[in-house]
Symmetry: C3
Subunit: 366 residues, 3 copies
């Protein structure tokens, strides 16, 4: 898969320096990058001055604009304006992918009423239900199951063991990591009479009559609607809606072990990091970033462009553009002040006790 | 799947109004419900006055008792005493289910010593081990594996890709969402000499001699015992017990990505919401509700009818009937007061500093 | 699978007492252990005096050294120096395992270029890619998929439905519980211009210009490198590295639903309990214990021998040997003091208000 430095620079839309005909075979960290040999060599990722020390003379590297390839003794270099962005193109260029063979594997079970787009690749032991539509160029790994009437757009990449239930629709360029479950039933139950949870929501915490009650299931008739350019992480779960669909907007990226409850609506271009949980019927705006282990209560609304720091627990509505942190989540600056004060809290307690003594003495004197 | 308004009202044990012979084809949100056509139409879920505005004249709806179908221009209506409960019956009536074909799929591998109940449906690529018993009317989706000697009761619904290990017993009407794992080995290890964790539990936090130690595995000989009417969420995991079984009581519902450790005992009619984790050997009573992301320490006891708010972290025993919140979890009212005080904490710090100054001045004067 | 008391004691390297020829058929809790019959009987786990009360005369038991088998009316006993350690040997002796039949199941699809070690057992519907190497004596359950070029060492036990992607290497005696995913793509995205997250990291929380941005994927070229004697829990996920590999050291045990992000490095002999999440590029030392639901921020370092209590959220570097707790995590003693003070916080608020009044009066008088 070697390409020349020139070709790589063109693909990355970046400036190149040195011997542009050298073949590049892959990318590596500076310490793992040897000087270029007769077959070419890997290109070292040294996109900040602190990484330059490990570069070996005679090798090829990607540097940040402003670094000096000649002084570093390189044979060739590509100069990045925005190194992280260039990284995206570079890693795409060298990603061999999961290796799903073209065509439909003979062990795959595809319902005759399903439509498989041209150039789609379907792996061993895949099960595709009635009326399913799979777009052009889609790749589906081993042991995937796709339920009745579900539609997946063009160029999807669905990794091994993914479960997509019936009645799900997804746009183009969907990526689903192994083991993710899309369209499981919502967690929605009701008791014949008022339940304890309904009671404490009404009374804000106090309980009157505790009685034995069984839970009756509310079935999930809605499906899941997923936009274009969405990625869903390994073993993440997205439940189907009750009456309408659970929705994920265009360009939203969802990490491993994330949970989206029934009826949740997530907007466009969001990042939901690992182990985030969003409870039933909550709505998340566009370009929202929820860091790892964030929790969102049910039935609340998070505005556009909100950023929530790691493990924030969000119990109430968050206005657009706010940066929040903590349990319960508050503005990040406020949380920082609270945390500072909390660390001083044991000292406060002592100071308060001393003050009380002093004032008592003053009062006695007075 | 259309039924008449009359039949639906009878099935839901609710009062009907208007043209009871109109056919109902499904349920939808008010805005998505069109006036009834020649083939009938969907029924709008408008079970609170705030939803009534979106209702279109000439359509069919479910209303809460007290709302006026005539004033809303409806053709027919069903009046609900307890709307959420009626929702359960309604969604059950219209749920087409996952579509598992009757019979045993020819690709399924069923051990000759396994017993499959009458009318059970077993999907493609299922693997069923020696001595397994599957109840009457059970439905098992594709790619499920069930280990040696496990028993599943009547009318179970086991979705795609579920893993049930050997030595598990489950009652009737079990529902398992895709990807759940029942009966993985417990996370139980021991070091030849006292480990760091044992040391800090004994010393409450201080460590004396840190030394290199390897972990030796304690195998899990116990299985998992699950009652009747239990539901287990997508990608949830329930570990087997060490010597005796891990247990889940009748009627308990477990959401996606929940973790029950080895030897855990959960009572009847509990709700364990998404991403809850219960560590090894803890015991949870009956009718306990743990909201999303709640954590329960190992070896503790949670009494009957406890309700824990979202992301509560429970480190110590909780008496029956208590409503708790926070990390560490305390009574909900106490937590609310703590949170209020925490938000004022930075202000306290300032006030305290001012007071100290004032008192110092007073003392100097004195 | 019965062995004599003598053989069991020898296998456990422990002292035996009584009739050493009695056959032991399994292990059970004291209350579930009947007196020895003609075929022998189970051995009761009664390794602390509090468990002795439930022992039935005429049975066999494991006791802690110092307990008296004769006074308890036992027929035979094994005396444990360190009961928890003996438990490891005992449960290993009686674990029947998942029951994967020897040989390669005829439905398994093994690429001709893969190398399968002698005595390996490969279950039904397994898919093994090109160039994969599976060690001697490895056991692989049903529905497992292993991607191109991955290597798994000797005596591995890979349970049902595990997904191991391409380019993963694992040492000997690897155990992977059902549904775990090793080698999913990292969650790594970049926007063409500075993203909101980059902005708030730079400004510590304030946002200037919010603009629409799409996320571009950084592909994961690195694999996952796993040492010897590692265990990975059910539905856990370990992402592949970006350029170099994500790494897990020898002897480290990882529980269910744990998430290790891309480029994470975990040292030797760690315990990562259920639902722990470690964000991208963080480094964890040797013998570190992270209790359930702990979260670790990205790009930080946790020293050797650190122990973090349940649900600790770690945002900054932790020095070696420290015992920490809380959100944000601080030294456990400090956290305990903070929690004590927090519970008294509402009272502080009252006391402070009273003091202010008193001082105001004093100042007025003065």
């Amino acid at each position: 898969m070697a390409i020349t430095v020139r070709e790589l620079a063109q693909a990355l839309d970046a400036r190149a320096w040195g011997d542009l005909d050298l073949p590049v075979t892959g990318a590596a960290e500076p310490a793992a990058t040897d000087p270029v040999g007769p077959q070419g060599g890997t290109i070292a990722m040294a996109m900040a001055p602190k990484y330059a020390a490990a570069l070996k003379p005679g090798s090829i590297a990607i540097l940040a604009e402003g670094m000096d390839p000649e002084a570093l003794g390189l044979r060739a270099a590509i100069l990045a304006q925005r190194p992280r962005l260039l990284m995206a193109g570079l890693t795409r260029a060298f990603d061999p992918g999961p290796g799903i063979a073209p065509g439909i594997h003979p062990t795959a079970i595809v319902d005759p009423s399903a439509t498989i787009g041209p150039d789609a690749a379907i792996g061993p032991f895949v099960v595709i239900g009635a009326g399913v539509r799979i777009g052009q160029g889609a790749r589906i790994g081993p042991h995937v199951s796709i339920g009745r009437g579900t539609a997946v757009g063009d160029d999807a990449l669905i990794h091994a063991g993914v479960r997509i239930a019936h009645g799900v629709t997804a746009g183009d360029r969907l990526i689903v990591q192994p083991g993710a479950v899309i369209g499981g039933d919502g967690f929605s139950f009701v008791t014949p009479e008022e339940s304890g949870i309904e009671e404490i929501r009404r009374t804000l915490g106090s309980r009157d009559a505790i009685r034995q009650q069984h839970w009756t299931r509310i079935h999930s008739l809605g499906g899941v609607e997923i936009g274009d350019d969405v990625e869903i992480g390994a073993n993440a779960t997205i439940d189907r809606g009750t009456i309408r669909a659970t929705r994920v907007g265009n360009g939203t990226k969802i990490d491993n072990l994330v949970m989206l409850g029934h009826n949740v609506v997530v907007g466009d271009d969001c990042l939901l990091c690992s182990q985030v949980g969003i409870a039933g019927s909550s709505r998340v705006g566009n370009r929202v970033v929820l860091a790892g282990q964030v929790g969102v209560n049910d039935n609340i609304e998070i505005g556009d462009d909100v950023i929530a720091g790691g493990a924030s627990k969000i119990f109430t509505r968050v206005p657009a553009g706010r940066v929040i942190l903590g349990n319960p989540a508050v503005r990040m600056e406020t949380q920082m002040e609270i945390q500072k004060a909390m660390r001083r809290l044991p000292r406060f307690a002592q100071q308060l006790a001393k003050l009380q003594e002093a004032v008592t003495r003053l009062l006695e004197k007075g």
